[in-house]
Each structure stands twice: as structure tokens, then as C-alpha cells.
Symmetry: C2
Subunit: 334 residues, 2 copies
């Protein structure tokens, strides 16, 4: 029977997560029960939202228990299937584990067509981040031609897609990211301007790059960058609140939403959203996204870390801003 | 020729406004030019937004210049009219001055029907505050039957109307205010519960009075009270940002909007609005509001300070929370 390595949450982080919060254990691979499927992981996705699950606090989802396996979006191969929709050798994606193998109810898996492109895209541009970008843009932020759109974490899996969709909609798009390589990349794929928050005065550069103010702000980060964007919000502007990575490792309660006067001045709408609310419309997003990829209108990058043992490092990188595009782990064979 | 007393902005306040920021001067009353109307003030309105105009800062309206007359919503009598729509003796309302007399373009005045009720209501429940409450509730906050609605500054001219409209819509309504008399009053006009923020633990009382969370928050105040309400926002809840009186006298820049994670968890929508955007629908609001007054469904209070010389004191009272209902100044004869 195959050996199965898997990562457990061994303790809850305080502030930045560290290697001590994770433990790699090895057991026998599980087997599939009724209507279940055994999947061998090819790629697993590390995402900022995972930091929230490691925290013992009320949120939109249950926290993960200490001692339990780390969960992740996975794309992998069916090894064994007791579900009528799948057979051995199929490529599937679903919410599985930081592990070599995992078992899932077949109803919770989606088939992935390997002929449609690299299977890793099922975790990125054609997966949760891409779908998040799609609905956050079209349904929440609602950019229209001529709008100025600002995107934070613009070099990431979500932000890079948001900016390209907005550019396709005829908007002027300004991206904020933390490395010159990211700025160069986003400016090469349709962003009109990029701001490196590590080296530039963000407020000043925003005024320069958004001379007509900001009509849409797609907020992945919160904190000081968001504080810098809000004063530029135009009348009837929209803010889509997708993530707040700047606060995820905070050990103190963030200060309050005390700058709401800026919303009165601008009559702006600020709206939080979760991609899981769009589950029933997932295929609509995939059809649009894959159409744009085929037509050459949508580009994407993936940053692949090799080896299951390096999954925690790949996760830490999200908070260091090291990844361009989607951060993935390719799982070697145990 | 009649004498005309009027208040000038003599200096910009730092923090709380004080008597030193105002100067009362006396001149001759003005006369009406082409299409103009000379109005003798009966009541003038003091409102929190005026604090913003006294500040030399970019906002949704021009700041008032030092040395210029203080402006105000006024209801008064036409003394002299060069406009075809008005004649001497008519009662009118408009944006005039903290003064005995003022001249306005007749196109900028509205007639007030004294048979419809006390003319002072044209500055309160049937004026800007009432219309603000109406559109902020029906168009921005959108409460539906069964919703839990929280209103801050609930004993004020806007909040008291918001709560009653929400109660008429079949909502559970909780009001927050700063005095026991206000709590008693709002509980007598349809609010299900009141929280005195001066004496109660607001977070604890919110949890008690909103056991099913908060579907709508009508925010007149900002600051710590708003910080206390946000964590209770339900999925797909709405926050109408109407005012932020807690910050108007601030001498330091407010901290940022750092608690936006709560909007992701709740997928809440936070929207600022200004009543002036609803100018074209003013009559719709007045028809609804006066209908509710006639049917006994909408009650209001006015807090009248006697004498033009006391107008600054009446204004200061807004920040001390002394007024129940609409704060007005009745202008004596010079």
C-alpha cells in the first residue's frame, strides 16, 4: 500500500506563521468508500485565506482544529473511484489536503480536461482565484468603459486577472504590487501603470497615475494601501473587498473603520464578497476566462514550488509577496 | 429700513467649535433684486454638516470663508418679492443665513403650506433631515420585513425618522443614543429597544437586543459606536453611511478603514450617500412623510432655542447630544 505524507496544523500561529506550526506525518494512503474517490495530488494551492482558518476565531468558515490535516485546493489524478462520474486516470480538482493522497466524496470534485491547457490552471486562472477575480469584477466592482480601476496585490493570482478583465472592459487600470518584476509583468499584460509600494510614495503615485480619481478599487490587501486609495474615490465609485492580507498576521485588533466620511463625500459603495456565493455560476466564469485565454486576451503566471515538504515555505511566501501569479506546490512522489 | 443681525464665521475651529469662532454683526436689511425674494427668518436650522463647512478642507462642498455669513436652512416669511412665484406674506424655505433677513433667488426657494402643520417642520421631519432619513432608508439601506435595523443618533432629527420608517416596514429596530430621555422617547415611537451609549456597554447591549445579528445599520456617528456594530453585520447586510458626527471635531486624521475583513465575512455593502443627490425626488419624500404624519405613524420632536443670539449655543448642543429631535433656533425680532 502506498505511503501518504500529509501536513498537519500542529499549533496556531501568533503573528507570522512559522515552520513550528506545521508537522509532516506519514501514514498509509486511504481507500475510497461508497461514492468516494481516491485522488493522488499533482498540485496543491496555497492561498492567503488559509491564514484565517489557522486562527481560532469566528469567521465565515470554521477554523481548522489543531492536529487536523491542512486543507487545500488540489488538482490530481483519480487512483480509485467508487463514484459513477469518475474512473482511474481522470484528472479532477477539489478541496482536499496538503498530502500525497486524499479521499473525497465524488460529488465534491470537478473534472478537469487536460486537453484544455495545463492542469495547474484549475487552481489558478481557471480555478478559485480566477473565478474570484471574475465575479468580484463583473458582479461587485462593475467597471465600465472609461473608469479608472485600481487593483491591489495586482501581481497575484486574483489581482492580475482583475486588471486584465477591467482593461478588456475599456478601463484605465493601475496596479499596486511589491516588486519591480511584478510591476513589469502587469504593465506587459494590459495594466496602464504599476506602483511598487516598497519603493514609491503610494499616495503621490496614485495621484499621478489616477488624475481623474478612482472609480473602482479592487481591494486584496487592506491596511495602509487601502487608506491611501480611499481619498481618491470618485462619486458613485465602488470598492470590492476581496481580501485583507495586510491584516491576516495581525496580533492586535485592527483599528476601526473610522474613515467612512470619505464614503459620504464620494457616495461610494464598499462591498465584501466571497467566491463561494457564486458556486452555482462557476461554469459561466470558467467559460469566459478560458475564452479570453484562447483569444490571447488573458495571460497568467504560476509560481511553482517543488515538493510537498516545501508547502509551508510556499505558504509563507504569500505574506512576503514573493510570488508572481498563482502560488502552487507540485507534489513529488512519496 | 429694518436692522439685520447676522452671524459670521470669524475664525475656523480647532476641535470643538467655541463662541470665539462666531461674530454677530448688524447691518441694514438687504433688498430683493431681479427674481429675488427678501425673507425674514422665522426658524433657522443648525445641523452637524455645518462643522464640515467651517473646516478649510476638501469635501463634497466648498468650505465657508472666514468672515463670511454662516449659512443655514431657514423657514421664513416673504417680505418683498421680485419673483413671480412668491408674494409678501408667503412662507418659504431655503438655504439662507444665520440672520434676521436674507435675500435668495426665488428659484432656490420652496413654498411652505402653513395649513399642513407647524412651519418649523419644513426644517425637520418635512425638510432636509426627514428627506435624508427617507432616501437613506428606502434607497440605500433597503430594510425589509423581519430585518433587524440599528440606528445611531436615534434620538436626532434623522435617526428618529429612520427608525420609524423601518418599524413601519416590519423591522425590529434598535436605536443608540446618549441620554435616557432619548431612549424613552424612541421606545415610545416604535423602536423595539434603545441603548444609551453613555451608561451601557454598547457591544453587550447590541448582542442582547440583536440576537439574530444586524441586517441594516444606519450610521450617523462613526467612531467607536460603528466599530461596535460592524461585527454583528449579517450576511448581505447593508450599512447606510449618513453622518460621522463622532469625527467632525477631530483634530487628528482618523485611523484607516482597517476592519474591512468584517465586510468579507458578512458580504456586507457599506454605502455613503448625500441627500442632495435626491433633489429631483424631494416631493416624493415629502408626500410619504406627511402621509405618515397624518396617519399618526410618524412622530417627531423639535428642540427650539429662542433667539438668534443663541444660535451658536444651539449648534454646540449638537455635539453635546442635548437635543431630542430637530435642533432649531427661533429668531426673535431685531
Amino acid at each position: 500500500m502506498a505511503k501518504n505524507r500529509q501536513w498537519l496544523l500542529s499549533s496556531r500561529p501568533t503573528g507570522e506563521p512559522t515552520a513550528e506550526n506545521f508537522e509532516l506525518v506519514e501514514t498509509d494512503a486511504p481507500t475510497a468508500g461508497t461514492r468516494e474517490v481516491l485522488v493522488r495530488t499533482e498540485y496543491l494551492s496555497v492561498d492567503p485565506y488559509m491564514r484565517g482558518r489557522m486562527r481560532d476565531a469566528e469567521s465565515y468558515a470554521e477554523p481548522w482544529a489543531v492536529g487536523d490535516p491542512m486543507k487545500a485546493g488540489v488538482v490530481g489524478s483519480v487512483v480509485e473511484s467508487e463514484h459513477p462520474d469518475f474512473e482511474a486516470g481522470d484528472t479532477v480538482t477539489g478541496n482536499l489536503l496538503w498530502a500525497d493522497y486524499a479521499v473525497a466524496d465524488g460529488d465534491d470534485l470537478r473534472p478537469v480536461d487536460p486537453d484544455r491547457g495545463p492542469i495547474s490552471t484549475a487552481l489558478g486562472v481557471l480555478g478559485m482565484p480566477g473565478v474570484t477575480a471574475y465575479f468580484g469584477t463583473t458582479d461587485v466592482a462593475e467597471p465600465t468603459a472609461g473608469d479608472t480601476v485600481v487593483v491591489s496585490a495586482a501581481g497575484g493570482a486574483v489581482g492580475s486577472v482583475v486588471g486584465q478583465i477591467a482593461a478588456l472592459s475599456g478601463c484605465r487600470v493601475v496596479g499596486i504590487a511589491g516588486a519591480d518584476e511584478k510591476i513589469e509583468w502587469i504593465e506587459s499584460i494590459g495594466f496602464d501603470a504599476g506602483i511598487n509600494y516598497e519603493t514609491a510614495d503610494v499616495r503621490e503615485r496614485l495621484r499621478e497615475t489616477c488624475p481623474d480619481g478612482v472609480d473602482v478599487y479592487f481591494d486584496n490587501v487592506g491596511g495602509p494601501i487601502t487608506d491611501a486609495v480611499w481619498p481618491l474615490l470618485n462619486v458613485r465609485s465602488r470598492v470590492a473587498v476581496c481580501g485583507q492580507i495586510s491584516t491576516y498576521n495581525a496580533t492586535e485588533t485592527p483599528t476601526g473603520p473610522r474613515k467612512l466620511m470619505q464614503l459620504i463625500q464620494s457616495r461610494a459603495r464598499v462591498e465584501g464578497f466571497l467566491v463561494r456565493d457564486y458556486e452555482s455560476r462557476w461554469d459561466e466564469a470558467l467559460d469566459r476566462l478560458s475564452g479570453w485565454i484562447e483569444s490571447g486576451d488573458l495571460e497568467y503566471e504560476e509560481n511553482v514550488v517543488e515538493g510537498l515538504k516545501n508547502a509551508p515555505e510556499a505558504f509563507f511566501g504569500l505574506f512576503e509577496g514573493t510570488n508572481i501569479g498563482k502560488q502552487l506546490v507540485r507534489v513529488d512522489r512519496a
